[in-house]
C-alpha cells in the first residue's frame, strides 16, 4: 500500500509525515506523530474526545483523513497552553474541579476555546449547545459549564 505524504502545520510547527490513505487524523496524531493528548472515545464522531481545530474550525479528528491535513493548520490540546503557562480555560477547569477522570478534558478545552474565540460572552445555553458534541460521563457538565463561564468572564476582564 503506497503511503500518502502530508505537509501540514500542527500547533505552529511545520510537520511532514506519511500515512496510509484510509488513516484518520486521530490515528496519525496518536500513532505517527506521538501527540497522545488527543483521545479516542468512540471513533465515530459521537463523543468529541478527539476534538481538534482545523483551519479555525472545530472537527473530530476521527472523522477526518490524515491525508486531508495537507496544507492545513491544526491545533491540538498540546497547542493550547502558551509560553506563559496554562490558558485561562485550563486554569478554570482546574479551579472549578471541572474534570474528574480527565479523559474528555482535552476535547472539552479545545472545543471551549473555539467557542470563546468566536463568542466571548456566551450564555449558558450557548455553552451547552456548543459543547453538546463533547461527552462527559463524570461531571454532569455543571462544573464544566461554570468553568467556561468563568473563563469568559476573566477573558472579558482582561480585554
Amino acid at each position: 500500500m503506497s503511503k500518502v505524504h502530508v505537509q501540514t502545520t500542527i500547533n505552529g510547527d511545520q510537520v511532514e509525515f506519511l500515512c496510509v490513505p484510509q488513516q484518520t487524523m486521530l490515528e496519525a496524531l496518536r500513532d505517527v506523530l506521538g501527540k497522545l493528548g488527543t483521545k479516542e472515545g468512540c471513533g465515530t464522531g459521537d463523543c468529541g474526545a478527539c476534538t481538534i481545530m482545523l483551519d479555525g474550525r472545530l472537527v473530530c479528528s476521527c472523522l477526518m483523513l490524515a491525508a486531508e491535513a495537507e496544507g492545513q493548520e491544526l491545533t491540538t490540546i498540546e497547542g493550547i497552553a502558551g509560553p506563559d503557562g496554562l490558558h485561562v480555560l485550563q486554569r478554570k477547569f482546574l479551579e472549578h474541579a471541572a474534570l474528574q477522570c480527565g479523559i474528555c478534558t482535552p476535547g472539552f478545552i479545545v472545543a471551549a476555546k473555539a467557542l470563546l474565540d468566536r463568542n466571548p460572552n456566551p450564555d449558558e445555553g450557548a455553552i451547552r449547545y456548543w459543547l453538546a458534541g463533547n461527552l462527559c460521563r463524570c461531571t454532569g457538565y455543571d462544573k464544566i459549564v461554570r468553568a467556561v463561564q468563568d473563563a469568559a468572564k476573566e477573558l472579558a476582564y482582561q480585554a
Binding site: 463523543c47 496554562l86 474534570l99 477522570c101 480527565g102 479523559i103 459543547l131 460521563r137 462544573k143
Partner: protein
C-alpha cells in the same frame, strides 16, 4: 474523630495534584503507552448470541506474514470455582470464561480468539482467517422466559445457589437471595392503602468515555509487566494470575490514568489475553477496545424485573413491604441481586417485609458493577411505590419518607443496626431547600426519591515518606478516578499539620506500594484515606521520637503542633521547635530517612443516604422530557474536598437521569445489540441538562478519623425514581418501565 472546628485544610477545594497534566494532554491513559517492538492485538468475537464452539482453527491466521501469535480458549487453563474479592464479585472461573470463551459463546461479542500482529490492519485480516465452527443455539433473551422450567439452558451445570436445598435439575437461575422480617400478612392487614406494581428496566452501560486498553510485555524469564486502565491493578493482577495459572510474583501491574469506570473497570477483559499473546509472541502486545466492543463485550448492569407491594396506614407509616426481583446476569453468573435485595428497603424502618431476588442467566454480556450495583433497579420500584402511597394519602412525599426513615439504632433490613446516619438530615434539608419551597413551574411535574448505598471498607495500604526538604510523598494504590489524590493530600496535610502544597500523592504500581482493593464501592477516601491518616500518625510518632532524642527528653514529653515538634507544656526544655523540614534535614543523624506506613482492613464504612428531587416538563405531543431543575442532597459524613463530592453527586445524577429517560440496551430477536455506539446509546449531552444543584449534609461517620462516608455510589440511585415520579406528576399517568423514552411516554398518553 476530629472535631470539625479544628480542621485547617480538610474541607477546602485546592487544585488536584494531577490536574495540570490532565488539562494539557500530558496525562497517560490506558491507550497512551506504546513500547518498542510492540505488536497490536485484536479479538475475534462471536457473531452469535448463543452457540456451541465446535472447532477453532488458528493455523491460517498464524501462517500470515506479520502475525506473531494467536490464541483461543484452548490456550487458557480451565479453572475450578473460587471467589474473587471486591466489588467485581463473581466466580473467577466465570470471569475466565468471559475473558475467552471455551466450549460455548454465551453472548454476541463474546471473545473467541485473539491475534497479535505488526499492525492493526494485519491483525484485522488475521481475524478473518481464523476458522470457527459454531453450532448455533436459540438465544435466551428475556429474563422471565429464561426462568421458565422449559427454557433453553445456557449452562447445564447451573444449579441454583442460595436455596435451602440444591435443586436436582439445572436451570438458568444462578442464585436466589432472600431477606425477611416480621409478619407480612398481619402487616398488609393493618394497612389502609396498598400499592403494587411491576417495573422493568433494560440493561444499561456505565458509559465511561475511555475504552478498555492495555499493553503487556512478557520477557524470556516469564516476567510480565502490564500497563492498563483499571479501577484496581492489584485485583487485576490477582485475576490475571488465576486465569493464566501463573504466579502473582511474575506479574507487575501498572495502573495508567483511568478515563472513567463507574464499576466497569473492576474486572479484567483484555489483560490475560494480552499477557498470553505477548508470551507467545515474545514481544509487547497492545490491546485496545473499540467503542462497539465496549458496549457488546464488557459488563453493563443488569436488566431487571422488580415487583413491589407496599402497605401503609393513613398516617403514612409503612406496615408491610414485599418485593420480588429478577436480575439479568448475562451469559455468566455475577449479577448484583444481593445488593439489590439488601438495599431496596434500606432507607426505611420496617417491621414486616419480605424480599426475594433471582439472578438469571441470559444471552447478553456478563454484567459488571455499575455505581451502587443492583440498588438503582430495586430502589426505583420502592421509591415509585412510595410516591403512589403519598398520592393516595395526599401526603408530601418527603413527609412520608420522614415518617418511615431509618435512623441511628434502626435495624437495617440486611441485619446490623445503623450507627449515626444522615437520612433524616437529608429529608429535613430537602424540606427547607429553596428549590423545594419554590412552586413547580406551570406544566411541569416534581418528583422526589431517596438513594442509599452501604459503602465498603476493606483492605488498603499507604506509605508516607518525608523528602530531605520536609516535603511529603504519599504512596497508595488506588487509581484516581475523580480527584482522590487531592483528598489523600488533604487528609495527610491535615494530619501532619502542613500546607496542602507540601504533600504530593502518587498511585504506585503493584511493586511499589502495598495492596489496595479496587477503587470502588465508595471505599477509597474512606479506607485508603484511613490508611493515609494512620501512616501520617506513624510519621508523627517517629518525628516525636527523633525530637525527643535530639532534645534528650522522653518522647512523651514531645507534642506535635502545626507540623512541628514542640516540648509538651511544662517540659523544661530550652529548645527550638523542630519542623518537618528540620527533622528531615537532620534525619541522617537521627536514624535515617523518615518513613511512615499503615495497612488495614477498614471497618465501619458508614452508609450514605440521599434525597433528590427534580422538576421535569413533558411535551405531550412528542413525549419529550425536559429537565428544568435538579437538586441532589446527600450525606457525605465529612466532605474532604467538597467540590469533588459535589462532582460525584452531579455526575451520578446525570447518569441516573440518562438511565431513566433514554439509555438502554436494545436487542434484536437474535440477541444482537442494535445500538452499540454513543449515537444510539443516548447518554445525556450538555444541552440535555440544567445545572445540578447540590447540598452536602455532614453527619460524621464515627469510624473514620475525619468522619468520611463514601459518596460515589449513592448519587445514581435516586434519579430513577425522581424522574419516574416527576413524569407521573407532569402527565398524570404512571409509567412503570424505564427508560421513559419519548415513544414510551407518547404511547402511555395515547392509551390513557
Amino acid at each position: 474523630m476530629a472535631e470539625a472546628v479544628d480542621l485547617r485544610v480538610v474541607g477546602t477545594t485546592p487544585v488536584r495534584p494531577d490536574g495540570v497534566d490532565k488539562v494539557t494532554g500530558r496525562a497517560q491513559f490506558g491507550a497512551d503507552l506504546n513500547m518498542p517492538n510492540m505488536l497490536h492485538g485484536r479479538i475475534l468475537r462471536s457473531p452469535h448470541a448463543h452457540a456451541r464452539i465446535k472447532r477453532v482453527d488458528l493455523s491460517k491466521a498464524l501462517a500470515m506474514q506479520g502475525v506473531y501469535a494467536a490464541v483461543s480458549g484452548a490456550d487458557f487453563p480451565m479453572l475450578a470455582s473460587g471467589e474473587v474479592s471486591g466489588e467485581a464479585g463473581g466466580d473467577l472461573a466465570d470471569i475466565a470464561r468471559n475473558v475467552m470463551a471455551r466450549d460455548k459463546a454465551l453472548y454476541h461479542g463474546h471473545a473467541v480468539a485473539a491475534v497479535a500482529a505488526t499492525s492493526l490492519e494485519v491483525a484485522e485480516q488475521a481475524l478473518d482467517a481464523i476458522e470457527v465452527d459454531y453450532e448455533v443455539l436459540p438465544p435466551v433473551l428475556d429474563v422471565l422466559e429464561a426462568m421458565a422450567a422449559d427454557a433453553t439452558l445456557l449452562d447445564e451445570q447451573c444449579f441454583t445457589k442460595g436455596l435451602s436445598e440444591t435443586p436436582d435439575k439445572p436451570s438458568n437461575i444462578a442464585a436466589m437471595v432472600k431477606l425477611a422480617r416480621g409478619d407480612l400478612e398481619a402487616g398488609f392487614a393493618a394497612a389502609d392503602v396498598v400499592v403494587e406494581g411491576e417495573y422493568r428496566i433494560p440493561m444499561a452501560h456505565q458509559g465511561y468515555i475511555e475504552p478498555h486498553a492495555c499493553t503487556a510485555t512478557v520477557n524470556e524469564e516469564g516476567k510480565a509487566t502490564v500497563w492498563c486502565c483499571t479501577q484496581g491493578h492489584f485485583d487485576f493482577r490477582t485475576m490475571t494470575a488465576h486465569i493464566l495459572g501463573c504466579k502473582i510474583a511474575d506479574l507487575k501491574f501498572i495502573a495508567s490514568e483511568i478515563g472513567g469506570g463507574f464499576g466497569g473497570k473492576t474486572v479484567v477483559y483484555l489483560e490475560p489475553v494480552a499477557v498470553m499473546l505477548s508470551k507467545k509472541a515474545g514481544r509487547p502486545v497492545k490491546l485496545v477496545m473499540t467503542r462497539e466492543e465496549v458496549f457488546r463485550a464488557t459488563g453493563p448492569t443488569s436488566g431487571s424485573v422488580v415487583r413491589v407491594k407496599v402497605g401503609a396506614r393513613k398516617d403514612g407509616r409503612i406496615t408491610a413491604a414485599k418485593a420480588w426481583l429478577a436480575y439479568e446476569a448475562g451469559g455468566l453468573a455475577g449479577a448484583p441481586v444481593g445488593p439489590g435485595v439488601m438495599s431496596i428497603f434500606a432507607p426505611y424502618d420496617l417491621d414486616n417485609f419480605l424480599v426475594e431476588g433471582y439472578e438469571v442467566l441470559v444471552n447478553k454480556p456478563k454484567v459488571a458493577a455499575y455505581r451502587a450495583p443492583g440498588a438503582p433497579q430495586s430502589m426505583h420500584a420502592m421509591e415509585v411505590a412510595l410516591d403512589d402511597i403519598a398520592r393516595q394519602l395526599d401526603m408530601d412525599p418527603l413527609d412520608l419518607r420522614l415518617r418511615n426513615a431509618a435512623d441511628e439504632g434502626t435495624q437495617a433490613p440486611y441485619g446490623p443496626k445503623f450507627p449515626p446516619i444522615g437520612f433524616k438530615a437529608c429529608i429535613e434539608a430537602a424540606k427547607k431547600h429553596p428549590n423545594y419551597l419554590a412552586q413547580v413551574p406551570e406544566g411541569a411535574g416534581r418528583g422526589v426519591a431517596a438513594g442509599f448505598w452501604f459503602n465498603i471498607g476493606m483492605q488498603s495500604s499507604a506509605e508516607v515518606r518525608i523528602n530531605e526538604d520536609g516535603s511529603v510523598v504519599v504512596m497508595e494504590g488506588n487509581p484516581d478516578i475523580g480527584g482522590s489524590r487531592a483528598s489523600m493530600c488533604l487528609m495527610a496535610a491535615e494530619t501532619l499539620g502542613v500546607p496542602y502544597e507540601q504533600v504530593k500523592t502518587y498511585v504506585g504500581d503493584t511493586e511499589s506500594t502495598g495492596y489496595c482493593m479496587v477503587t470502588g464501592g465508595s471505599r477509597t477516601t474512606f479506607a485508603t484515606g484511613m490508611a493515609v491518616v494512620r501512616a501520617c500518625e506513624d510519621i508523627i510518632a517517629e518525628c516525636k521520637a527523633r525530637a525527643a532524642a535530639t532534645w534528650g527528653v522522653d518522647k512523651d514529653q514531645v507534642e506535635w503542633q502545626d507540623g512541628t515538634a514542640v516540648p509538651a507544656p511544662g517540659v523544661n526544655a530550652d529548645v527550638n521547635p523542630l519542623s518537618l523540614a528540620d527533622l528531615a534535614a537532620s534525619a541522617s543523624a537521627t536514624g535515617g530517612p523518615i518513613l511512615g506506613k499503615a495497612s488495614l482492613n477498614a471497618q465501619g464504612a458508614g452508609a450514605s443516604f440521599s434525597i433528590n428531587f427534580a422538576d421535569l416538563k413533558v411535551d405531550k405531543e412528542t413525549g419529550a422530557v425536559e429537565v428544568l431543575s435538579y437538586t441532589a442532597i446527600q450525606d457525605a459524613g465529612k466532605a474532604i474536598h467538597p467540590a469533588y463530592v459535589e462532582g460525584q453527586m452531579q455526575g451520578g445524577a446525570a447518569q441516573g437521569i440518562g438511565w431513566a429517560l433514554n439509555e438502554e440496551y436494545i436487542y434484536d430477536q437474535d440477541g444482537v445489540m442494535e445500538n452499540a455506539g454513543f449515537l444510539d446509546y443516548r447518554m445525556p449531552v450538555a444541552s440535555d441538562l440544567p445545572m445540578i444543584d447540590t447540598e452536602i449534609v455532614e453527619v460524621p461517620n464515627p469510624s473514620h478519623p475525619y468522619g468520611v462516608r463514601g459518596v460515589g455510589e449513592t448519587p445514581i440511585v435516586a434519579p430513577l425514581g425522581v424522574a419516574a415520579n416527576a413524569v407521573r406528576d407532569a402527565i398524570g399517568i404512571r409509567i412503570n418501565d424505564l427508560p421513559m423514552s419519548p415513544p414510551r411516554i407518547l404511547a402511555a398518553l395515547d392509551a390513557a
